[in-house]
Amino acid sequence: MKRSTMLAGLLLSGSLALTACSGNAAGADKTSAGPGGQAATGGTVQVLANAGFSHLDPVRGFDGGVNNFYRLIYRTLTTQGAAPGADGTKIVPDLATDTGKPSDGGKTWTFTLKDGVAFETGAPITSADVKFAVSRAWDPEIGIGSPYAKQIIAAPASYQGPYKSGEMPTIETPDAKTVVFHLKKPYADFGSVVAQNTFVPVPKGTGAGTELDSKPIASGPYKVSAYKPGASLKLVRNDKWDAKTDSIRAAKPDGFQWTFGLDPATIDERMIAGQGTDANAIAGTIQAASVARIQTPQLKQRTLSGLGGCTTYMGLNSTKKPLNDVRVRQAINFAVNKQTVRDAVGGSTLADLATSIQPPTIVGRADYDPYPSPDGKGDVEAARKLLTEAGQAGGFTMTLDTRAQPKMQAMAVAIQQALQPLKIAVKINIIDTSTYYEVIGTPSQQHDAAITGWCPDWPSGATFLPPLFDGRNITAKGNSNLSQLNDPGVNKTIDEIAALKDVTAANAAYGELDKQIMKLAPMVPLLYEKVLMVVGSNIAGAYLHDGFSGGIDLVSVGLTDAGK
């Protein structure tokens, strides 16, 4: 369950840009300076950020911002590729020698660790460390991050993590190099699951409580040398990491220096000015107000832009009247003017109009528009017809929950305005940022509609559609099925896809499921937000990674001139 971190206001540490490649397909400029150029070895990359990291403990942290950062200090059994575009979302072996060997019809998965992998302490990484780390996910206090291990791997119902319940009986370690996972039921894409943060090895017996949040034990190319939560974080090389065992991480710079707590406007100013060490800096997406300022050729050359990989949507609560009538929900889908919603977040450079539930970065996604309107400006006539059929021609009042954040409020106002001609009076209910997801995730407290977003945990429909629309997942708290859709047809298709053995076929089937769900109109897909970043003039090797909400892939970024 990963909520859109872009919406959460976290500035991701980077995104990148396909610009380097897309503009010059001929490759003639490949050697030139600029974000797409070749990174030299050495130097320190500066990262300017607004919000600090949620957690350094890999079992706790789980959002687009830390996932990208974790790859610098941690390794997992498998990981996503390090390349722009679709190559970046391909799962490749990391600590393991391959992406896993299934047996028992996909219910048992075996991984073998590479030789020569070690923690920053110098101790070799063994299968026991992996087992120990994964079992931490069952600890009720620590296992608050990625939920997949808990959902998929079999475990005794009473198991509460290694500190309380001892060794986990369902993960076997026949020898120091081999880990065997037993799943609850066959899972074809388990190779992607073990790329989750939960599968970062932790030395057996360590990491109780918040120990790892302040002093992580690195397995990747860098280790934390100084960390002041909310202020700064410094990474230096981990000399126990052997580049020969790692085909993913270029790890060119000698270190990284994060500065947290900067005002977004300040970050934009500094990135545009690019003075001093800011020439070696990367930052998150710029604000809408800065877009007009980065139109000069010099700044454009330093700009990276691409899709964030998330969908921003308005969930329609299908248990409330009159939204329980599918025609009313379809009418709203027709009527919403996505153009004005997009302008509210910063216009065409910061978002694309969304038509389907899954964003374009998802493998197997079908590109279609079930509720078309000219230029996405809304088809009021079609909507009115549906409302008349539903007996709601006279209009009604609905309450739209939104976060106390200017961007989110602006979107809510745009929707309010678009529904006004249908005499649908939208009452905007502003909820404090800190309690927003708690409120809308509690069915007894949520209202008729809510604006939120969803990012896939890995770019497959499996982490997008079932969490949002499986009617059996509706919970009294922490509910992500905002529409409370519980449709037997959809549930059945979800089960059928889960039973597919072939990942490619499953992804294609999710594309079809997307269409099946949108016929029921449980949500209005609004936007696929983009990242738009200005990087320092000395930054090289930067590209946006589709798997990290469009952040700049930190394991590949470096400096053109390491001496600067």
Partner: protein, 316 residues
């Protein structure tokens, strides 16, 4: 001042026969002879008329305060208004808001409604609270005074702005303007009540009050027939000077995001959302800023003039 020429005094004496010495008429006459006061009055009249006739005015200008105009902004540049000076044109007299193209003129006009209504309501409420509680404390003295004065001390010593932000952000959305008025008044009345209490204390010992008491007047009659009319000038001055303060407070709270909720137009909110646009679209900041500044300035100058006229009248 007894040495001043007598013309004025003669007039005063003549007027005194028909009404109290600080007659409304005299204040007005004096004010219209003051250029600054006239300018301020004229501007305030415009703002009040704008507020009162907002729907009519926006009908004339062609754009409502909530209507989006996608054609007036450049989506590819993050939503900056097309054209120079924030998109000022025959169509949009004050330009448009970035990102959605709402007409700034219409939003200024409707924003005046919010500002004026909230400020006036808060002034009326603080006026009533301040006068009643101030007179109670000043007239009865003893434990009533103790109680009221301690509450006033408490409220005045309180970091009011911080508390207002805390209250307003924890309260459910509800009816924001009413909440704003209540919260602003709750922290505003002691300033008036203090002055009223002091004046009531002096007045209560004056001969005419004692004469009334000796002739058998009840407390109620004393307070309302004898003391209150003599507090009039203080109340007028204090209230006039309070209005700009409340306009500023409302704008400040809206700026901080705890004032009226979108899409309602409010000057403070406009200024708040213009902050990030200052370098790209300075007019978005300048226009609501100018209106807020001029309104507060006019009220302050006017309040000051009224005070000096009244003071002169009392001295004479």
């Amino acid at each position: 001042m007894s040495t001043t020429p007598t013309l004025l005094e003669v007039e005063e004496v003549g007027a005194a026969a028909g009404g109290p010495p600080t007659s409304t008429q005299r204040i007005l006459t004096r004010l219209v002879h003051d250029k600054a006061a006239v300018l301020c009055l004229a501007f305030l009249l415009i703002v009040v008329l704008m507020a009162a006739f907002a729907p009519l005015i926006t009908k004339l200008s062609g754009w409502g305060p909530y209507e989006f105009d996608s054609s007036a902004i450049n989506s590819a540049l993050g939503g900056v208004p097309n054209g120079s000076l924030g998109g000022i044109s025959g169509e949009h007299w004050f330009g448009v808001e970035p990102q959605n193209g709402r007409d700034l003129f219409a939003r200024i006009v409707y924003g005046a409604r919010v500002s004026i209504t909230i400020a006036i309501s808060a002034t009326v409420l603080t006026g009533i609270l301040g006068v009643v509680l101030g007179m109670l404390a000043g007239f009865y003295r003893g434990w009533v005074d103790q109680l009221i004065s301690r509450v006033m001390d408490f409220l005045m010593a309180f970091p009011a702005l911080i508390f207002m932000i805390a209250i307003l952000s924890s309260l459910p959305a509800g009816n924001r303007p009413v909440l704003l008025v209540v919260v602003i008044s709750a922290f505003g009345w002691p300033y008036l009540a203090r002055v009223i209490r002091g004046q009531t204390m002096t007045l209560a010992n004056r001969e005419f009050v004692e004469a009334a008491r000796a002739s058998g007047a009840k407390n109620l009659a004393l307070v309302f027939r004898e003391i209150l009319p003599n507090l009039r000038s203080s109340i007028i001055v204090m209230s006039t000077l309070a209005v700009p303060g409340y306009i500023g407070t409302e704008a400040g709270l809206s700026f901080l995001g705890v004032g009226v909720t979108p899409p309602t137009a409010s000057w403070g909110q406009m200024i708040s959302s213009s902050v990030s646009w200052y370098s790209v679209d300075p007019m978005f900041f300048a226009i609501p800023g100018a209106f807020l500044f001029l309104t507060v300035l006019s009220l302050t100058v006017l309040g000051d003039k009224i005070r000096s006229v009244i003071d002169a009248g009392e001295a004479a």
